[in-house]
Every structure is written in structure tokens, then in C-alpha cells.
């Protein structure tokens, strides 16, 4: 294992972390800041990817596909918020779990009903395809660098929105005491629709961006959902920095664990068994990480409240 390969794998870990952040960004708003357990978040991610794939198939433009993804997911989000979620803010988490679980069923099968049962095609735009050579001679796909860029931009925007704007303050106030912020004259209902739609749009954006290098298929959202929850919880609910740090930790653990654990076991086991055992442990690694973080800091790395 050469140093350059190690460096490349670390870069891959970081990259996968930022990509995870991008996927978790919308959930950070909805779950982290609004305090709503939205299991259907993965579905919004899927909606974005499908809208992008369908648009790209018709128009051939990646940019239009992204716009469509944002619009479709935001619209789906706003609709869901007005019809369902709005009635659940003052209920406990359990009702939210059941309702959004039901939404997963509706979204998944609805998507399959509209788009059929087979994966759709969505590809990287010409201008962003292929590898570039980084300093040190690492060949790295340009598109992945683009995703890192997008992830960081989204992180910065979110941080600014939540921590620095009055809108952010109001959302957080609403999470503490919805009735009170309304009684002080803030139209919290409309604000929440807006924020929910924004969270959904971010999910859709991630779905489209990531969908271009993955498979656009029904059910693509659920694994992402779990990962996104892991990321936010590790970072500490309500904290954007936390979500970014959590995402990068998870990305590194996942990538490096998958590569190095089998090699470590290879030192004293035969290769086939080592790669199996190593891979088995690697697939548990991020959950071990999450449990360890929570046992050590019960409200996540950056979280204050519980």
C-alpha cells in the first residue's frame, strides 16, 4: 500500500463524507432544526433523482434536470407538509414515525407506478465527466470534485441560514415552542412549509447529483435515509457544523474501514477469510462509531439539547 494510495483513499473518505452531508443536508433542516422525524426524507431524495432522470431523458440537459429535481422535490415537500406534516408538529415523535412511514409506502409505490419497475438512466454531464489529475498524481473524477464543491456550498449556506438569519432563529424558536412564537406574531405555519419545502428541495438536489453516479431506482432513498440520520445524530441534532463533521467522520470510517480492515485481518488470516471478516466488520463500522460517539457524548459531538 503506497502513500499515494493511502492519500487517495483518505480523499475518497472525505469525498464520501461531503457527499453524505449533501444527502443529509435537507434532513438537517427537517430533523435537525425543525425536530421532525421524517422517515420519508429518502423518498424526497428519490423523487429528485427520478425527476432529474426523466427531465434529462427528454431534454438532454443536466442543468434542466437539476432544476426539475429541485422543483419536484420542493413541490412534493410542500404538499406533504400542508396535507400531513402540519397536523403532526404538536404530536409526539411516534405519530410522525407512523405517518412518514406511510408516506414512504405511498411514494415508493407511486414512483414505481409512474416510472415502472426498472432503474432509470441519468448520467454525468459531458463537461464534468472523466478524471482530472490532482497534485501528487492522483487521478480523480472531476464530477466528484464538483459534488464536494456543492456539498461545501450547501453547508455554508445552511450554516448561514440557520445560525445567522432571523429566519433561522424563528425556526429554532418554533421547534422549542410553536404556540409561543405564533403568539408573538410570527406566521410559523407558513415558515414551516417553506423550510420543509427547502429541506425537500435539498434532498431532491442530492438525489439528482448523486443519482448521476449511482442507480436511480425505487427504494434508493432508504439506505440514504439511515445514513443521513446517523450523520446528524453523530454531529448533534440542530448543529450544521456537527452534521458536516459527522458526515466526514462517517465517510472516513466507512471508506477506510472497508479498505483497511480486510488488510489488517489479512496479516493473520488467509486472504479470502480475511476479506470476508474485514468486510463484515466494516459494514458495521459506522454503527459502532455512532454508538461509541453517543455513549461518550449522549447528545452528539456538537449537540446541546436532548
Amino acid at each position: 500500500m503506497t502513500p499515494i494510495l493511502i492519500a487517495e483513499q483518505v480523499l475518497n473518505g472525505l469525498q464520501s463524507g461531503v457527499m453524505l452531508f449533501l444527502m443529509a443536508a435537507g434532513l438537517t433542516l427537517i430533523f435537525g432544526v425543525m425536530g421532525l422525524i421524517n422517515l420519508a426524507h429518502g423518498s424526497l431524495y428519490m423523487v429528485g433523482a427520478f425527476a432529474a432522470a426523466a427531465t434529462a431523458a427528454v431534454t438532454g440537459s443536466f442543468l434542466l434536470a437539476l432544476v426539475a429535481a429541485l422543483a419536484a422535490a420542493a413541490a412534493a415537500g410542500a404538499l406533504v407538509e400542508r396535507l400531513v406534516i402540519r397536523r403532526l408538529y404538536d404530536r409526539d415523535h411516534l405519530d410522525q414515525v407512523l405517518a412518514t412511514f406511510a408516506l414512504i409506502l405511498i411514494f415508493s409505490e407511486g414512483t414505481r407506478w409512474i416510472f415502472g419497475s426498472f432503474p432509470l438512466y441519468l448520467d454525468i454531464p459531458e463537461a464534468l465527466s472523466g478524471p482530472v489529475t490532482l497534485p501528487g498524481g492522483i487521478q480523480y473524477p472531476l464530477y466528484r470534485l464538483f459534488i464536494i464543491g456543492m456539498g461545501l456550498v450547501v453547508a455554508a449556506l445552511l450554516f448561514w441560514l440557520i445560525a445567522r438569519t432571523r429566519l433561522g432563529i424563528r425556526i429554532r424558536a418554533g421547534e422549542n415552542d410553536r404556540e409561543m412564537i405564533a403568539a408573538l406574531g410570527v406566521d410559523i405555519a407558513r415558515l414551516y412549509t417553506l423550510v420543509f419545502a427547502l429541506g425537500a428541495a435539498l434532498a431532491g438536489l442530492a438525489g439528482a447529483l448523486v443519482g448521476a453516479i449511482q442507480s436511480v431506482q425505487v427504494g434508493m432513498g432508504e439506505p440514504v435515509l439511515i445514513l443521513a440520520f446517523v450523520v446528524i445524530v453523530i454531529g448533534g441534532i440542530g448543529s450544521i457544523e456537527g452534521a458536516l463533521v459527522g458526515a466526514i467522520l462517517v465517510g472516513l470510517t466507512d471508506t477506510l474501514g472497508g479498505i483497511f480492515l480486510p488488510q489488517i485481518f489479512g496479516l493473520f488470516m488467509d486472504p479470502a477469510a480475511a476479506t470476508q471478516t474485514g468486510a463484515a466488520l466494516a459494514s458495521m463500522a459506522i454503527y459502532v462509531l455512532m454508538a461509541a460517539v453517543l455513549v461518550w457524548k449522549p447528545t452528539g459531538l456538537f449537540g446541546a439539547k436532548s
Binding site: 405519530d95 458495521m284 454508538a291 453517543l294
Partner: protein, 327 residues
């Protein structure tokens, strides 16, 4: 008798009588469905102790369900394949006897619940939801790659395990067994909720500060509640494995945890018969809607949504009124 108890009695009676009728009319599959409902209800009754009484929203109860299932799978597969489980210090060949399997399932899931509880109960609220999920996922991925016991293929046990004095292969007899276990556990849960422990655990959910101030340790109360809860769900897992004569990692998946939780919310959180009603209705819906259309999940989703939005307190709440019983 309060309306809620009346409803509970009716549901329990129906759950007992329908399979009996089906047996007389020679429709064994209805019995299988009822057995499935009874076992899933049992799993949910277990979770309801942590969730309803203790306020511990565990999204990792599939862990215990799976452990119960694997207890059955591992014990029985060794007998099936003539490979003793261990020969030292004494020869143990595994077991195909349900009482033994149940004991192992309950002890193993209680032990794991104790360990998970010790760590997970350091957190609370949403963090607790997620840390229990994390443990569930660990077991899930572990079982997928644990090739000794089938990995993701799982294990088939060709013959249902035995129970002294019963022919468990006869659907109605196996149902009777599961039903009896469910009734016993329900009775236990009923007593538990009213017992000093139940009172203290309920108070620890509502006001941990108060519980501490009267000299009780809310963490320990929760831990004990979590262990009892996990053990019951583990028992249900062993029965479920025997119903299907099959175990696989899906028993550990987060969707399984989610479904067990859905039964409770659907039926009514913290209500004695909530899990029973929830599981029975869910199994029926799955069965009927599945026949209706290829896209039946949509309708299932719509129905579940309707329940959350319009029936606060779940189905039991809808029928028996919103207030929980106080006496």
C-alpha cells in the same frame, strides 16, 4: 368494565375464535394468518412496555426479535445437521424442544437488552431512537455476513420444533400455543403496568427529576423495563421463526423494528391491547390489500395515514376514547 377493556376482550376473543372456526371449516391458512398476528402482537406487546410505559422509543427491537429467531435457528439447525453445538464441558447437541428454545431466546435477548440498555440509556429522546437503531443495524450486518449460520440466506428448519404434549405441526395446535403465550404475556403486562414498578417506570417517563427526588433511580427503572421488553420480543422472535420454520437477517432489519413500532402506534401507544389490535389489523390489511392491486402498498400507506391523522390514540383510542385508563 371500561370500553377499552371491553374492546380488548372482544379483540382477543375474536383472535381466538376465528382460527377455531377456520379449523372447523378446513381453512388452515386463516389459522396461519392468525398465528402470525398473535406472534407479531406478542413482539409489539414487548416493545410497548419500553415504549408506552417507559417512553423508550426503541427503533432497534428487531435486535431482540432476531436474537429470538436465531436462538431457534441455531439450536435447531445443529440437531438437524447432526453437528453438536459444543462438546465441552458437556455434550450439547442443540435442541428442537420449544421450552428449551424459548428459555434460550428469552435469556439471550434479555442479556443483549441489558448490554444495549446500559449503553443506550445514557442517551435520551431522539438520540435513544438512533442508538437503538444503530445496534439493530450492527446485528443486521453481522448476521448477513455470518456464514456459519447461513448469512443472508438464513436458515431453514424443515420440521417445526416440538412442545411436550402437542403436535406443533398441526396449525391449530401451534396457534393455540402462541395464543396462550400471548394471553399470558398480556396478563403480565397488565399487572406490570399497575404494579409499583409500572407506576415508577411511568413516572420516570413523565418526570425523571421527581422520581429521583423520591429516591428512585430512573435509569435503573428504565433499564429493567428495557430488559423485560427485549425478553418478550425475543420470545416472539423464537415463535416467529418456528411459524416460518425459517430465520434470516431480515428479522434484524430496521424495517422489522419499524413494523413492530407501527403495530403499536396503529393500535394505540401505551394501551394494553393496542399492540394486539395493531398487529391484527396490519396482518389483515396486508393480506387483503395484497390481493387487490399490484400497487397495494399505496393503499396501505393511505390507510395508515388516515389512522394517524384522524384517530389520535390509535385504533383503540378511536373506538374506546382518548383517555388512558386511570384507576
Amino acid at each position: 368494565m371500561s370500553r377499552e377493556r371491553l374492546l380488548g376482550a372482544v379483540v382477543l376473543l375474536a383472535l381466538g375464535l376465528v382460527p377455531l372456526a377456520a379449523h372447523l371449516m378446513g381453512e388452515p391458512f386463516t389459522i396461519t394468518l392468525a398465528t402470525r398476528a398473535a406472534i407479531l402482537a406478542l413482539a409489539a406487546v414487548g416493545l410497548n412496555i419500553a415504549l408506552g410505559l417507559g417512553g423508550l422509543v426503541s427503533l432497534g427491537h428487531a435486535t431482540f426479535f432476531g436474537i429470538g429467531g436465531y436462538a431457534m435457528g441455531i439450536l435447531a439447525s445443529h440437531v438437524q445437521n447432526y453437528e453438536p453445538m459444543f462438546e465441552w464441558p458437556v455434550l450439547f447437541e442443540g435442541s428442537t424442544s420449544m421450552p428449551v428454545i424459548w428459555l434460550v431466546a428469552v435469556l439471550a435477548s434479555a442479556l443483549v437488552a441489558l448490554l444495549i440498555g446500559l449503553l443506550a440509556l445514557r442517551t435520551s429522546g431522539v438520540y435513544f431512537i438512533m442508538i437503538t437503531l444503530a445496534f439493530g443495524q450492527m446485528f443486521y450486518f453481522f448476521s448477513i455476513s455470518w456464514s456459519r449460520y447461513g448469512g443472508e440466506d438464513g436458515m431453514s428448519i424443515y420440521v417445526r420444533n416440538g412442545f411436550p404434549g402437542l403436535n406443533t405441526l398441526d396449525p391449530i395446535q401451534f396457534f393455540g400455543l402462541c395464543y396462550a403465550v400471548l394471553c399470558l404475556v398480556l396478563l403480565g403486562a397488565h399487572l406490570l403496568a399497575r404494579s409499583p414498578f409500572g407506576l415508577a417506570l411511568g413516572a420516570a417517563r413523565q418526570s425523571p427529576d421527581r422520581v429521583q427526588a423520591v429516591g428512585l433511580d430512573p435509569k435503573r427503572l428504565r433499564l429493567v423495563g428495557f430488559v423485560i421488553s427485549g425478553a418478550i420480543t425475543g420470545l416472539a422472535g423464537a415463535l416467529f421463526a418456528d411459524l416460518n420454520r425459517f430465520v434470516s437477517p431480515t428479522m434484524f432489519s430496521w424495517q422489522t423494528s419499524g413494523e413492530i413500532m407501527v403495530f403499536i402506534i396503529l393500535g394505540g401507544v401505551g394501551r394494553l391491547f393496542g399492540p394486539v389490535v395493531g398487529a391484527a389489523v396490519f396482518v389483515m390489511l396486508e393480506h387483503w390489500l395484497g390481493d387487490m392491486s399490484e400497487y397495494w402498498h399505496i393503499w396501505l400507506g393511505v390507510l395508515l395515514l388516515a389512522v394517524v391523522l384522524f384517530a389520535r390514540g390509535g385504533l383503540v383510542g378511536l373506538i374506546a376514547g382518548r383517555e388512558r385508563a386511570h384507576d
